[in-house]
Amino acid sequence: MPFSADAGGWQLWPLLTWLAGLAAQGGGGPLRFAGQTLLYLLLAGTAGLLCTGPAWKKCLDAVAVLGFGVLCLGAMADLVNRVGDAAQQCQTYLAAFVPVFSGVLALGGQASGAAAYGGLFFAVSGFLAMGIERVLLPVMRIYFCFSVSASVWGDSAAAEAAGLFGRCLNWLLRGCGALFGIVLGLQNVLAGLADNAAVRMGGTALAGAIPLVGDAAAAALSGAAAAVHLLKGGLALALVVTLCTAFLPVFLRCALYYLAFSVSAIAAAGCGQRQCAGICRLLAEGARLCASILTLYFFMVFLSTALLLITGNGGM
């Protein structure tokens, strides 16, 4: 990053330049791919027009869909690898970040929050990263292979089966997202309430038990907690910026691939390439599912950190 994690020192132009750099990282590949697919479809459509016999047109369509399948599968293999790398990169960063953040939380009087963050959250994020690498991404690879094979085969039943596979993955991801959101959100709220009560009790006990200086001690406790709260905010901001650096280019890539496939589906239908249009529709759904996987992981990490930041206020 060209700037520090201290938000007070940020300026607009370096921030915009950084965001543009991230966007360029994610956008170049899909745009080139879109150009290649549109060119290929145009060529296939022209070849179909030049051949007048229906038998030869079928032969050309079969060759065109083979070539299109090769073109698309290569791009999707690259996308799936990048999604896996982004999740792994984030998990590696969290392995270093979580102990530090938990320590700061404990220092600020959020012992329950620190335990929740260092224990449950880290375990859940590790479980999700492993689930993405070992389960979701292999399933996505199977989905891509099945979609291309079904479209090359040309049977409508196989294409319907591939579509159903995609819808099942969609429902599975929605269920996972809802489950993790409920569990982590609830855990963070309860930990925050317990910590707030504990710090308030500590302040009250100090003011009541120690004469004369008890009030000053209670005020000093609140002041120290506020300072630690600021440090906590800076660390959380650093996490968010790191997450954005890891996820934004890949998320943008997924979105651009989705757009590229959607436009290619229209172009393929216009050129009379029905099977190529089927590949485009199914792989557009696959790119959307990859973006959903990234969003699930990103918001699980972001939500947990943000809730701890918001609900734990050190007794203020």
Partner: protein
């Protein structure tokens, strides 16, 4: 204009072929083949820049897919022309043979592409 010259050539060739067909069917057949070849030669000059453009595009990426498609198109057009010429001469069996040869050659051209697709599928699944 080129299209008008091509149309005139096609009409003249057709009329001459019809007039010779009754008395000299062999010469009528040769005339129709020569007329078709002349039409294709006339359009060959227009194909050169198009083929150059396709080669430049193939050089930009996905060479195998585009080259395979262009080769299969060439085979399809040649086989179609041969089959139609044989049908003009009343040789249905030769026409079917020409089409079969064309399909086999097109399949042979598509096999490397199929192999690449299978390899990509296997590498994605492993």
């Amino acid at each position: 204009m080129l299209i008008i010259r091509i149309a005139v050539l096609a009409v003249v060739g057709g009329v001459l072929s019809l007039s010779l067909k009754k008395d000299q069917p062999a010469f009528a057949f040769l005339l129709s083949v020569a007329g078709t070849a002349a039409l294709l030669l006339g359009i060959a000059g227009q194909m050169r820049p198009l083929l150059g453009y396709l080669q430049a595009l193939a050089g930009s990426g996905q060479t195998q897919s585009i080259q395979c498609l262009v080769r299969v198109l060439g085979i399809a057009l040649a086989a179609q022309f041969a089959a139609d010429t044989c049908r003009d001469a009343g040789m249905q069996a030769a026409a079917a043979g020409a089409e079969l040869c064309g399909r086999v050659l097109a399949l042979a051209q598509a096999l490397p592409l199929l192999q690449t697709l299978v390899d990509t599928l296997l590498s994605l699944l492993q």
